[in-house]
Point group: C2
Chain length 423, copies 2
Amino acid sequence: MALSDLAADDLDRLESALASEYETLASRGLSLDLTRGKPAPEQLDLSERLLSLPGEGDHLAGGTDVRNYGGGAGLPELRSIFAELLGVDADRLVAQDNASLSIMYDLLTFAMLFGTPDSGRPWKDEPQLRWLCPVPGYDRHFAVTQAMGIEMVPVPLGEDGPDMDEVERLVAEDPSIRGMWAVPIFSNPTGAVYTDHTVSRLARMATAAPDFRIIWDNAYVVHTLTEDFPKVPDVDSIAEEAGHPNRFLQVCSTSKITFAGAGVSFLSASRENLDWYLGHMSVRSIGPNKVNQLAHARFFGDAAGVRDLMQEHRKVIAPKFEAAAAALSRRLGEYDVATWTRPDGGYFIDLEVPDGTATETVRLAGDVGVALTPAGSAYPYGEDPGDRHIRLAPTLPPLAEIEAAMDVVGLCALLAACRAARR
Amino acid sequence: MALSDLAADDLDRLESALASEYETLASRGLSLDLTRGKPAPEQLDLSERLLSLPGEGDHLAGGTDVRNYGGGAGLPELRSIFAELLGVDADRLVAQDNASLSIMYDLLTFAMLFGTPDSGRPWKDEPQLRWLCPVPGYDRHFAVTQAMGIEMVPVPLGEDGPDMDEVERLVAEDPSIRGMWAVPIFSNPTGAVYTDHTVSRLARMATAAPDFRIIWDNAYVVHTLTEDFPKVPDVDSIAEEAGHPNRFLQVCSTSKITFAGAGVSFLSASRENLDWYLGHMSVRSIGPNKVNQLAHARFFGDAAGVRDLMQEHRKVIAPKFEAAAAALSRRLGEYDVATWTRPDGGYFIDLEVPDGTATETVRLAGDVGVALTPAGSAYPYGEDPGDRHIRLAPTLPPLAEIEAAMDVVGLCALLAACRAARR
């Protein structure tokens, strides 16, 4: 029976039973962590061979000595593999060091200090800068725009992507809105995949700012939880046809393909955007780590090698997502008090609890040893106006811990919901 | 006999003979390159074993899985090695990715966008920013300050370091001077080593700007051309005693120890400076490439391992410096028209030719197939007011090519000097 249909004394009895169970939990001394989207050791083991690559004697790539300086755009051998995965021309994609977050940070830094190719002046000289943030979204994105002093404007993210009516309205009327964050495939944290129609509207829409940019973070582009891989739209071609060739700045990385923190990252964009980025980067660096890029090229072999590896990842983590959903369902299903996403890919589950109970759920879980990402972290400035969303990251802990931790999360969410309903 | 003592007809005869020899050279179709300070393949071969490190199964460093996210300050195992080489505490040194140039760029970016811990406001909001540039100096340093729109003020670099009377006078009176570039050991390009007295004056001097910073680029700290290693001053301790604890930002890297472009870099500074840097970096990245850091720690073993490796480098490149000096001496010695540095370490020779002939010398050499760094590149904005300095980089080409190329350089310098003397 739905929680909202329970009579007052039934609600009392339920709360009392849950509270008692919760007290028992407190004595168990749990220490479980669902906070960050980190790969599990078994996933990292899949790429263990990389630790010995490229290997002694293997330091040439098409005549380039990867041990020496140069080659700011990255190794063609590696770029061609990811160009195929992203469905773009290899000359429209550059390979960089280990973090796409750093590429995104630098893109905004360059825009702040120097302006984009379409800007009248550096963004730092603008009286006001705003940025659209589909919510719930990725906390590290929001931290970058916040650091830069760019005011963040939330827009709701649905199953098909952001609320496009709202996006179109905002960008058309407000020239201070200079861009937007997007995780178009298996979005962090809901798992939403932007539809073709959404992508088309983003490419076509008129913006008051001439230098409007969408940072298109394809962090989970091959991170499937099924046997299939998502279709990847060629956003630059779509935007070029729509007359906005410089609109998209697409990034991705191998952080959750090979090694988190020791992989390689990529930027795909229009020629003008790439020349702008590489021009500024050439002052910052004499080139990325080509040894690591060659190691990755040797390890993958080709695009099929990447897809095969991602299927091995799936075998490790899909059962964790299933176990998490099952545990939530057992605890919460019959009471109809919460919803949670069942993504086809990516690294997260978005648990949506009754209004005003997310913070309390996270507190309750933390107090019995289950660490969750702070409620609100999926929102700019950490402010979830409904206090409803909790981001759950089930990849890192072992399967048994996932089941135990998710059971606790379900219990805490239900307990918080009961108490809220009684008030 | 010195060129300046030659009678007019002797000068004519000399010029005529040199011109004839130059014409012969033109027909030889040379293609030699002395432009950049890049390691030679034999030097890179010394670290070939790194290409297989850390090796399968070796991914733990003191309990940290180097394959996963985190650890923004870098691996302690590696930091302790370079802390010993720099003579600093390991907790005052952080290890980053492959380019110290990137650390320097980011330091200035953070100062521009956010200000330093001692700044009243972000540097971007200051009406005027100036920066001291000892000359001749490093072109990539100058490119960074130029990109940021910071006005560069040259100060002469002598054998003991920059002209300290001039430095002290400028920083005391002009609050818009926010910092200074320095390559204190085996300076690029002259090979000068700052004396203890210079270091002390830099640490002690009063500056009108409260947030004055010296970017202390110890790029060649162990890059000796002799059996000895230079003494490394602990600048942070000296500055702290002088009441200016945040004055120095010291960087170095293994770009010319292991692999250029695939090494590791370091920042050593006061606790307050490091916290400031790491705080901003934590928004830009979830951490550096710890796999590469572990590989380097395994490869070096300890600080003695680094020193041993540098002696192997010396065996490869010291003969090239000797051959270069000998070739210049043969061509130019008797005429007393030019001077060149004979550094005890580093990567460059600074050739100083008669006033107004550096550009012509570079042009003449280029026209017969010997590429040199453009005259003026060792000066801010590429402007050497005397047109006297030519930076020669003898490490990359094979020994035989160094001899051939330096002979051409000597010939061209002498020919340009003759022609200038006849005018």
